[in-house]
Symmetry: C2
Subunit: 346 residues, 2 copies
C-alpha cells in the first residue's frame, strides 16, 4: 500500500484516536493541537501519550502546536478535522484559508446547524460555502457511525462510515485508514450520514433520562431496560421521520444513526446529564453538576427542535410526530422537569 | 371502567407478570399453569408469589392447576396465552379445542415457523388454521415489544404493542390492561409485529457475540460498545430487509423490533449464550454450559436462515444482504467458531 502523509488538526480524543489506525498502517501522521490543546500537545511531545488515553501512541506520530501548522501540512495527502462542534467557526475562519488546495479534509465533527427558514445544514455545508467564497477547491468528507475514541484506541472492532462527494478522495482515505479492527463503509450521502449521527446525540439524552427517572423511583442501580427500550423505539421512529425531512430517509442512514445511538447511550457526558435530569434536577442544576460544560447533545436537540417548529408552522412537518424531541427541548429551553410523554408515543 | 375476567394460561414469567397490571386494574385474574408448571402453581397458591419473582402478586389473583382449566375459564372475557414457543403445538392441540367461542386470546409467545417453501408464518397463523379446522371463532391477538417480565413486575415504565385483526377485541384488552406504567400501542399488522419481535431474538445473539469476543481478546469486563454498535447497525439493516420480505417493512414494525432488540441484548440467556460463543466455545459446549436448555433465539435464527436460503434459491432474496444472520446460523448448525464477517457488512 502507498503510504500517505496524514495531518490531524484538533487533538481532542476522537481526532487523536484516529492516529492509531492511521499510524499503524505505516502512514506518516502529524497531530496539530488547536490553541485550546496546548497542554495536550506538550504532554504528547513529552510522553507520546494523550492525557485522556491509557496507552501510548504508536511510535513515530509527530506533534505540533498550532503555530507550526504549516510545517505539519508539508506534503500532506489528506487532513483530518478533529475539532468539536464548538470549533466549527474557528475551522471555517482560521483553518480553511490556510489549507492547501485540492487536499481532502475528512471531519469527525458531529452536528447540524439550523437556519432561520427551518433548514438544518451540515458543517460540511458551512465549510463548503466558505470555500466558495475563498474560491478554493477542497474535497470535504466526514466520518459518521458508532465509535468511541477510547475503544478505538483499545482496538475494539469498530465499523464507521466515511461520506463525501469525491469518490476518489474517499477511496484514498479509506485505504490509508482501514485496519483489521477499524472497518470503513463508504457513502455519498453526506446529509444522511451527518444528520443521522447528529440526531442520535439528542435522542441518546432521551434514553438516558429514563435511567435517571428509574434511579430516582427505584432507589437502586438496576438499569430498567424496559423504559430505555421504549424510548429507544420512539427515538428510532422520530429519527427516521427527521431523516426523511432531510431527504435522507434511507435504511443505511437510519441504521447508522441507530447504531450510533446505541453506543452513545453508554458513553460519556450525554448519559450523565440525562441521568441527572431524570433524577429531577433542572437543566441549570444538571449543567452545574457537570461544571457548566456545554454539551453537543443539548445543542443539537435544541437546534433540531427549533428547526422543526419552524417547519411545522410552514406546514412541512407535524409536531405530533416528535413528542420525545419536543419534550427534550422543553427540558433544555423551558427548564421543565422530566415527564416522559408516554401517551403521545404512537 | 368495566372490570373483566382475565385468564392467563401458562405461568411462565411473562404470562405471570401480566397478572400485575391486569389485577391492579381491578379485573378478576386467574392464572392456570401448564402440566410443566405444577410446582410454580403450588408455590403461588401457598405464597401468592411466583418462584422467579421477588415480590408477591397483587391481592386476589387466583391460581389453578391445568386440571381446573374449566373452572378458570368461567365467565372469562379474554384469555392470555403465556406459553413459550416450545408450547405452540400444545396450545394448538390441547388448549384451543377447550376454549370458549368468541372469547379473544392474546398471546405473549414470540417466534416464527418456517414452511418448506421458505415462508415464515406466525404462531397466530398456525392457531388460526386449527380454528378453521375446528370451525371455531376466536379472535387471535398478540403482544410484541420491549418488555422483560421482572421489570414489568417492578413497575418499570413499559411500552408494548398489542396486535390483531379484531379492533374491538384489541380495544377491550387494552382498556383492561393499560396502567400508568404499562403503556399499550395497537396495531393491525400481526405479521409485522410478530416478525419484528421474533427476529430480534436471533440478532440479540449476534450483538452478544461481540461481548464474548471482547472479553476473550481484552481479558477484562469493559463492554466495548463499538463492536456491539457495529453489529447492532448491521442487525437493523438485516431486520428491515427481512421485514420487507414479510411484506411488513413499516417504520413502526422496525422501531418495535429494534427497541426489543435493545432490551434483549441485556436480558437473560440469549446474552449469556452469545457471550459463551464469543469467548470461543462451540454451540454444543455453550449449550452444555447452560444445561442443554433450548433457546428461542437459536431456534428462530435457524428457522429464519433456513427460510432465507430457500427464498434465495427461488430468486426472492439475496444472501449477500444477510451476512450476520448467516454467520449466526453457521455457528448454530455447522458448529463454526465466531468470526464476525466485518468485511461483508455493507
Amino acid at each position: 500500500m502507498d503510504k500517505k502523509v496524514i495531518t490531524i488538526i484538533g487533538s481532542g480524543m476522537m481526532g487523536s484516536a484516529l492516529a492509531f489506525p492511521a499510524r499503524e498502517n505505516g502512514n506518516e501522521v502529524n497531530i496539530v493541537g488547536t490553541h485550546l490543546d496546548r497542554e495536550i500537545i506538550e504532554n504528547c511531545i513529552e510522553n507520546n501519550r494523550h492525557l485522556k488515553f491509557d496507552r501510548d501512541f504508536p511510535e513515530g506520530v509527530k506533534f505540533y502546536q498550532i503555530e507550526d501548522l504549516d510545517k505539519a501540512l508539508k506534503n500532506v495527502d489528506f487532513i483530518i478535522c478533529g475539532v468539536s462542534s464548538f470549533g466549527v467557526d474557528w475551522w471555517r475562519d482560521f483553518i480553511l484559508p490556510k489549507l492547501p488546495e485540492n487536499v481532502p479534509v475528512v471531519s469527525v465533527t458531529k452536528g447540524l446547524m439550523n437556519k432561520e427558514d427551518g433548514k438544518l445544514i451540515t458543517y460540511l455545508d458551512i465549510w463548503g460555502e466558505k470555500l466558495k467564497e475563498l474560491n478554493k477547491n477542497i474535497p470535504l468528507c466526514a466520518i459518521g457511525g458508532p465509535c468511541t475514541s477510547y475503544e478505538l484506541v483499545a482496538h475494539d472492532q469498530t465499523y464507521v462510515n466515511f461520506c463525501g462527494k469525491d469518490k476518489e478522495a474517499l477511496k484514498m482515505i479509506k485505504e490509508a485508514m482501514e485496519t483489521d479492527y477499524y472497518h470503513i463503509g463508504l457513502s455519498e450521502d453526506i446529509v444522511g450520514v451527518e444528520s443521522a449521527v447528529a440526531l442520535k446525540n439528542g435522542y441518546a439524552l432521551g434514553v438516558a433520562l429514563t435511567i435517571g427517572v428509574n434511579q430516582k423511583n427505584f432507589k437502586d442501580d438496576t438499569l430498567h431496560f424496559n423504559s430505555q427500550a421504549a424510548v429507544f423505539t420512539e427515538a428510532v421512529k422520530e429519527m427516521q421521520k427527521l431523516l426523511t425531512l432531510q431527504n435522507a430517509g434511507s435504511l443505511d442512514n437510519l441504521a447508522l444513526g441507530v447504531g450510533d445511538l446505541y453506543v452513545t447511550v453508554y458513553g460519556g457526558r450525554t448519559r450523565l446529564i440525562g441521568i441527572l435530569l431524570g433524577k429531577g434536577l433542572n437543566i441549570d442544576e444538571a449543567k452545574n453538576e457537570l461544571n457548566g460544560v456545554t454539551l453537543e447533545s443539548l445543542v443539537v436537540a435544541e437546534r433540531v427542535a427549533k428547526a422543526l417548529r419552524i417547519k411545522a408552522e410552514k406546514g412541512e412537518a407535524d409536531l405530533k410526530d416528535y413528542p420525545l424531541l419536543l419534550h427534550i427541548d422543553d427540558i433544555i429551553t423551558k427548564k421543565l422537569s422530566v415527564n416522559i410523554p408516554w401517551n403521545e408515543f404512537i
